[in-house]
Amino acid sequence: MAALAPVPSSRLAALTRLRCAVFQTSYNPTSARTGAKYLRARLRGPSMVEYYPKELTVAKFNRLCLGQWKIVDTTEETRLADVEAKKKRGKGAPKKAKTKGDSRRSHRKR
């Protein structure tokens, strides 16, 4: 069996170029980044959005009806009533700070 002679690199390059032409791929001998993979990849957003099951809440239903019908949200009304009762007893949320010095964080001990 005769020993194979080493193939010159120019011949190999020509072969690769010809192969690219035949199979319609881009000839890129230096492996330069073309960014094509960002265009080729499928979009992931559409399937991402469908992960959680769609949930219809009372507030969402009222928004969809555009004021034509309205369901009374008892839990939300109870919550608002509780907040009002707390405010009357002076237990409401603190006022928003106008300046940085007013903020509660500025008086914090380290």
């Binding site: 330069a32 980044r33 073309t34 960014g35 094509a36 960002y38 265009l39 990849a41 979009l43 992931r44 957003g45 559409p46 991402m48 959005v49 992960y51 959680y52 099951p53 949930e55 809440t57």
Partner: protein
């Protein structure tokens, strides 16, 4: 009502979907070595102006029932405890408790 972390995740998912095509276009320009460096740099600067929740990596699969972030079985979208509860109740097709 889902908890705040699930709400944040839903927000991220919607924003990723809304900005995906624009982001991909900028990514293509920024990573393309055949374009002039100045153009690529400007594209990278534009990429940095997108919000935190427009990146697909901020999206995390959480439990669809309890909202738990760890121990999720991705095939079912459930955390390990909800998976156990549902499997024992026979609500997941093809899953039964092993016994031998």
């Amino acid at each position: 009502m889902p908890n705040a972390r699930v709400l944040r995740d839903i927000k991220a998912r919607n924003l990723v979907k809304a900005n995906e095509i624009t982001r991909r276009a900028y990514l293509y320009v920024a990573r393309n070595q055949s374009l002039p460096p100045q153009v690529r740099y400007q594209a990278q600067l534009q990429l940095n102006t997108f919000g935190k929740y427009t990146r697909p990596t901020t999206v995390k699969n959480r439990c669809t029932v309890s909202g738990r972030g760890r121990g999720i079985m991705s095939e079912f979208g459930l955390c390990r405890f909800q998976f156990r509860l549902k499997a024992l109740a026979g609500e997941i097709p093809g899953v039964q408790k092993a016994s031998w």
